[in-house]
């Protein structure tokens, strides 16, 4: 079963901005794989029941879907180096059907996994310092962060340092591995919230106080799913040294009191909602009673981890004017973002070709992106929470060459932030919990708006689709949210408007009765035409909606009937 010789992997360039494993980290991964192999054997020998095995495999990222097992691999804080992306391509070819699916939580999923291949897949991941640990299960999940970390002009604190510290701290945490339910943490260090921190179990906002010291605003109890809630702020400025201790207090309060008899009420958000201000007081009491000194985050640890994320060797450049060629300009206007370093830019690579499956990438495309990252971006790639990829550090003068290469690989769809840049969960095509299809709805909407000029005219608009109430497709926070449900054996789609995930986080409002699978695309078009008819010059969909409210959309959708 384990005849696979470890593949020779190119050494990681010293400046690739991800945490670099040492011998101890590698030994740990080898031990973890050995443990999982032993668990598979005990399951096969009947020593573990299926009920007992299930959470163990989930904590190693292995789901049972409709047609096959799915392996969900963590991409900590969304950062990959070129060698890692190539290895993901290799895994996709060798053990899957030549594809991988990037998710909103900075993971990649392989949808056609065979149980007996999993230990080899895990070893292939370990060869490039990757794993699938805690990508599922009732434990602390992969910590997510800003895809433009280390590049964004509005960044105050580099969140990757703390995301890595949290990754290590939460890995096989002895107390918090059997929580009432999953626990998701997001962290940002920028003024603009690009991680939906108010929709996480814990959302951290790294910042500096007047004295320049680093601390965190701590939000808790946000989430989507059946009961969407915006998080409550527990602390405005938690000093850096107290980060782990305070989080231990939050998790301990949750582990002791979270509901366990009803999975729909087991998330921390329900506890926070039901207890209100008392929850924050409880956490403070717990924290006060803890031996805090044991949990102090040593500045030496922070400094050592910070070294891994030192800036790449940027050249001293000036900003340059971009070529006028209209097609290039159209792409650059959507895909290129300003960088904190003069002469550089961040580039978003759309994984949303017209009519494609949002977030899917072929092995060949992954290899192309890995090569382009080496050529143009210090060997670094990011995975975004809207299921796209990012080359964080590209020289502005290289943008035309990069664009040509992306175009040749079918990776230059100029639709970032437009209606075809859709978030969609796997839905009925893969997911055992789905009540409706979501991928084909995304594909049909994308095809309806295939004309880029039309998309540009409509302007920025986020369309998010989930195939059931669990809300993996973030429908509650889409400017337009679509939720597929089953109504007496028929798939129907509920539409919400006005959701948002960032600093202005809001939950969408239901527009009215649901639409059939056949009618949903027309309904979306009607909504967008209504926006175009009512907007002020240059007004975005979300701003127009906030100004005019639900009524005009309702009328356009239902009055004719």
């Amino acid at each position: 079963m384990n005849a696979i010789a470890p593949r020779a992997v190119a050494p990681v360039p010293p400046h690739a901005r991800t945490y670099r494993y040492d011998a101890v980290d590698r030994e740990f991964l080898a031990e973890r794989i050995a443990e999982f192999e032993g668990q598979v054997q005990r399951r096969l020998a009947g020593e573990l029941t299926e009920e007992e095995f299930k959470p163990l495999r989930l904590m190693n990222g292995l789901y049972l879907q409709l047609h096959a097992y799915m392996l969900r691999v963590a991409i900590p804080y969304g950062v990959l180096n070129a060698a890692q992306l190539r290895q993901l391509a290799y895994i996709a070819r060798r053990w899957d059907r030549g594809f991988g699916h990037f998710t909103t939580r900075q993971n990649i999923q392989f949808n056609w996994t065979k149980l007996e291949d999993v230990p080899d897949m895990l070893r292939a991941l370990a060869a490039v310092d990757m794993h699938a640990i805690q990508t599922s299960g009732n434990c602390i999940r992969n910590v997510t962060t800003d895809e433009y970390a280390g590049a964004a002009p509005d960044e105050v604190v580099d969140p990757r340092i703390y995301a890595e510290i949290l990754r290590q701290w939460s890995t096989l945490h002895p107390e918090f591995t059997w929580l009432p339910r999953k626990f998701k943490i997001a962290i940002t260090g920028a003024a603009e919230d690009r991680v939906a921190l108010r929709l996480h179990d814990v959302g951290l906002e790294a910042k500096r106080n007047a004295a320049g010291e680093i601390g965190f605003a701590v939000h808790a109890g946000g989430g989507m799913g059946r009961t969407p809630l915006i998080a409550t702020k527990l602390r405005d400025f938690l000093p850096e040294a107290e980060l782990l201790g305070y989080l231990e207090a939050v998790l301990r309060s949750y582990n002791a009191l979270g509901q366990r008899d009803n999975i729909y009420k087991a998330r921390i958000k329900i506890l926070v909602r039901d207890l209100g201000a008392e929850f924050a007081e409880m956490v403070e009491r717990e924290y006060a009673a803890m031996p805090r000194d044991r949990f102090r985050l040593d500045p030496a640890i922070v400094a050592a981890i910070r070294q891994h994320f030192a800036p790449p060797p940027f050249l001293a450049l000036n900003d340059v004017a971009l070529p006028e060629a209209p097609e290039f300009r159209a792409w650059a206007a959507r895909s290129v973002r300003p960088h904190r370093q003069p002469g550089y830019a961040s580039v978003t690579i759309s994984l949303k070709p017209i009519g494609g499956i949002p977030g899917d990438a072929s092995a060949a495309q992954m290899e192309v992106v890995a090569g382009l990252a080496e050529r143009f971006s210090f060997g670094e790639i990011r995975v975004s929470h809207v299921q796209n990829l990012v080359l964080p550090h590209v020289r502005q003068e290289d943008l035309p060459d990069l664009w040509e290469e992306l175009r040749a690989a079918g990776l230059a769809t100029p639709n970032i932030g437009l209606v075809s840049d859709i978030i969609a969960c796997p839905g009925m095509d893969y997911c055992a919990l789905a009540t409706a299809r979501s991928i084909p709805v995304a594909q049909r909407i994308s095809e309806r708006f295939a004309d880029l000029d039309r998309q540009l005219d409509i302007g920025e608009c986020f369309v998010n689709i989930s195939g059931c109430i669990n809300a993996c497709g973030h429908h509650h926070v889409g400017h337009i949210g679509i939720l597929g449900v089953d109504k007496r054996g028929e798939e129907v789609y509920q539409v919400t408007l006005g959701g948002a995930a960032g600093n202005d986080a809001a939950l969408g409002e239901l527009v009215g009765p649901a639409f059939s699978y056949d009618d949903i695309v027309d309904a979306i078009e009607t909504i967008l035409l209504t926006h175009v008819a009512h907007r002020l010059p240059g007004e975005r969909f979300i701003d127009c909606y906030r100004r005019i409210g639900l009524a005009p959309f309702k009328e356009a959708l239902y009055a004719a009937a």
Binding site: W178, N255, R260, A304
Partner: protein
């Protein structure tokens, strides 16, 4: 039920005593209700006392009883119910309890190491359980990324090498 300590089966000196049964002169484990009811007279008892702490009761609520106790039995109604991990850690870290902490109920070998790291000393295992499987399960991963209750030595940064008996 067989009792596991340090990866080996050991004799169990304790007996569980029903609320209405006569208290023996040997180590006895009582319910919380009985311990509360009889606390005054139990204070003068010589033989060791133990308590079954239900998962929904916070350790802080029984802190006053801890001086009477040589054993606290925690309960996992289902192995997926992890409240006992938090209770064990609170007993050791917040309340300085040095007696035996026993994990009872539905526990699987894959939880053994984490229970030990949270401060549990013994586990009630199912009849016929093979202690070798339990012992192997706690040894397979020898590195930890965070502090806990058991002895360990820092490797560097956040990491620790576990020192398993």
């Amino acid at each position: 039920m067989p009792l596991l300590e340090d990866g080996r089966l050991v004799d169990d000196a304790w007996v569980s005593v029903a609320d209405d049964a006569v208290l023996p002169d040997s180590p006895a484990i009582l319910s919380l209700a009985r311990l509360r009811r009889d606390a005054a007279e139990l204070a003068s008892r010589r033989a060791p006392l133990g308590l079954v702490l239900p998962p929904e009761v916070a350790v802080a609520e029984i802190a006053d009883l801890l001086p009477l106790l040589s054993l606290v039995a925690l309960v996992l109604p289902k192995f997926r119910d992890g409240r006992a991990f938090t209770q064990a850690r609170a007993l050791r870290e917040q309340h300085g309890f040095t007696g035996e902490i026993r994990a009872t109920g539905h526990v699987i070998p894959d939880q053994y190491l984490a229970l030990l790291r949270c401060g549990v000393s013994t586990v009630e295992v199912p009849a016929g359980a093979d202690p070798a499987v339990w012992d192997a399960a706690r040894r397979v991963i020898g590195i930890a990324y965070q502090r806990a209750v058991v002895p360990d030595s820092p490797l560097s940064l956040l990491r620790r090498k576990l020192e398993i008996a």
